[in-house]
């Protein structure tokens, strides 16, 4: 885990964010702290390091929660997962909601091209990253094994040397 300044996201994170095949999930919280997670396929990163996505629905819960972030300085989270299984969580703060002007128009026209004539863009959110964390399962497993060497079952290969009794998945997402 590392605190970062805008425009200093690791190259692999930028690559994953720009890859349209990656899965991108935005997690926000409401006024009571309840989580809300949604897929944001349009999410990518600008050259200045700010994350950006199109919000289609003015009245969505995600939009209200993003507004809460910009009003009350609350943290939101983006999970990006590449088709290779590599995953990163980026925590950030809502930086600006754009409803007009050149940035808005660019995304508006992009939505029309990609989603057709009935597409809607209520606004474009910019998110300033403040922290990035590698959530790739194999990486996280290695980190946790080092930190907590005794927190494992005896019949794991790395403990007793015995053969595993079931096939172990190689790469995949672990919820930690």
């Amino acid at each position: 885990m590392a605190s970062i300044a805008a425009a200093t996201l690791p190259a692999e994170v930028i690559s994953l964010l720009k890859d349209r095949a990656s899965l991108k999930i935005l997690a926000t919280t409401d006024g009571q702290g309840n989580p809300h997670a949604v897929v944001k396929g349009s999410l990518t990163v600008q050259d200045d390091g700010l994350l950006v996505y199109r919000e289609a629905m003015e009245s969505s819960r995600a939009n209200a929660n993003m507004l809460r972030s910009v009003w009350y300085d609350k943290v939101v989270s983006v999970l990006v997962v590449g088709s290779n299984g590599h995953a990163y969580q980026i925590k950030g703060k809502a930086h600006r909601y754009v409803i007009s002007g050149p940035i808005f128009k660019q995304h508006y026209l992009e939505a029309r091209r990609e989603e057709g004539p009935d597409s809607e863009v209520a606004g474009v959110w910019l998110i300033e990253p403040v922290e990035v964390r590698n959530e790739t399962f194999s990486v996280r497993k290695e980190e946790e094994d080092k930190k907590h060497p005794h927190m494992r079952h005896f019949d794991r290969a790395s403990v007793s040397g015995v053969a595993a009794t079931t096939e172990t998945p190689t790469l995949g997402l672990g919820v930690i």
């Binding site: 006024g31 209200a64 507004l67 009003w71 930086h95 600006r96 409803i99 007009s100 002007g101």
Partner: protein, 425 residues
Amino acid sequence: MSQRGSMSFKEVAAKYPDVPRLVIRKIDAGLRGVAMTDRAMERARESNSVFEDEGEPGGERAPWKLGGGTFRDGSSFLGSDFTLIGPGRPALLRGGLVPYSLDIIGEKLMLVDGEEPVEEVYLDTIPDYYGKKTSRGTPMHHIVHSDSDCLKLNPHSYCQAWSEGQPCKFCFATGRRRGSQGPKTDADLEDIYETVSEALKEPGRWTEMHLVAGSDPAGATPYENEANSYIAVLKTLKRCFGGKGLPVRLVSSAFPEKTLVRLREAGAAIVGPNLEVWDEKLFEWICPFKAKYFGRQYWIDSLVAAVKVFGRGNVRTQWVGGAEMAQPYGFKTMDEAVASTLEGTEFLARHGVSARLNILRVRQDSAFYGQKQAQPSLEYCVKLSVGIRDIRRKYGLGVALSDYRSETTRPDVDLSRLDLPDVVA
């Protein structure tokens, strides 16, 4: 006294930590006005964000206008309701409040309070149709006025209240005094058709249309002439939009139910007769023309009837927040004044009417200006905004159209943005 109460922005923000500072800042800037520096004006020119009108007969129109501006939460700032001071646009507010300034700090366009840069402001561009003319040579921006993402036009350009010398006491719409009598001619309507059609060519620019005609109570039924002006324009707009529904809001007088049905059938989506002030005696004093044509109860009955026609949440009214404290007849304390307005807000909300706040600005050319009435205090505006928002929330009423995207003096509407997932309209 120029403003009741003396709490500063920082004091109010500290006292009301649940109210976003951005919203409080917007109220404060609205009360004090914003002065454009030369550097800010130059930036606006560079970014195609200022339209320098050649003027119009009578000189009613300001010599320049901005395409609009937003704060980082996307809310409209510097809209047409805002008191913007600059070359050829003197300060018009009563009192000696020190305005904010808009200046370039580093590379950013910043709102500056005294010496302190407090918020970045993002300018919008002037609409594409500005500067173009209709086939008969009328400048399109004289026909349809833009305000952020809203197109605004006047179905007629006069207000009988001014003609009878009984305008609402806060009203500064001086142009209405000079407006020619009568509805739009066929040529006028063709100008509207050409202008709106041209405006609609700009992708992603517009989300709302707002029609406001001055009061005209004449006709076989109350305000029939005024309704006919709206209907003529609505029919013209239907040509622009094809057979699709019109996202049109009327800021109108109060109509009988049968007239409301005609307006809905003509394409209106939302109606908004403005009561302005809830207290009965203050209504008669502040809005003498509305009291005469045809009394407070008539206006209230019309609002309630409109819900049957347009549906819950699609009927609006506004309070001119602060007018109810105008002296010598107004409330003497903030708590009394807030309680009165919230009583009206709750009564109307029970009937499905969404009441909204419009902060009083004591502007030149209004009766209140001549009377040296005070502007409301920042704290008063915050308390009233929160109270109105809470009642709308309790009754599940929304604020679609004329929302934060185009309105700069309605902080209660800004606050209701967080309620959008749970309300109708």
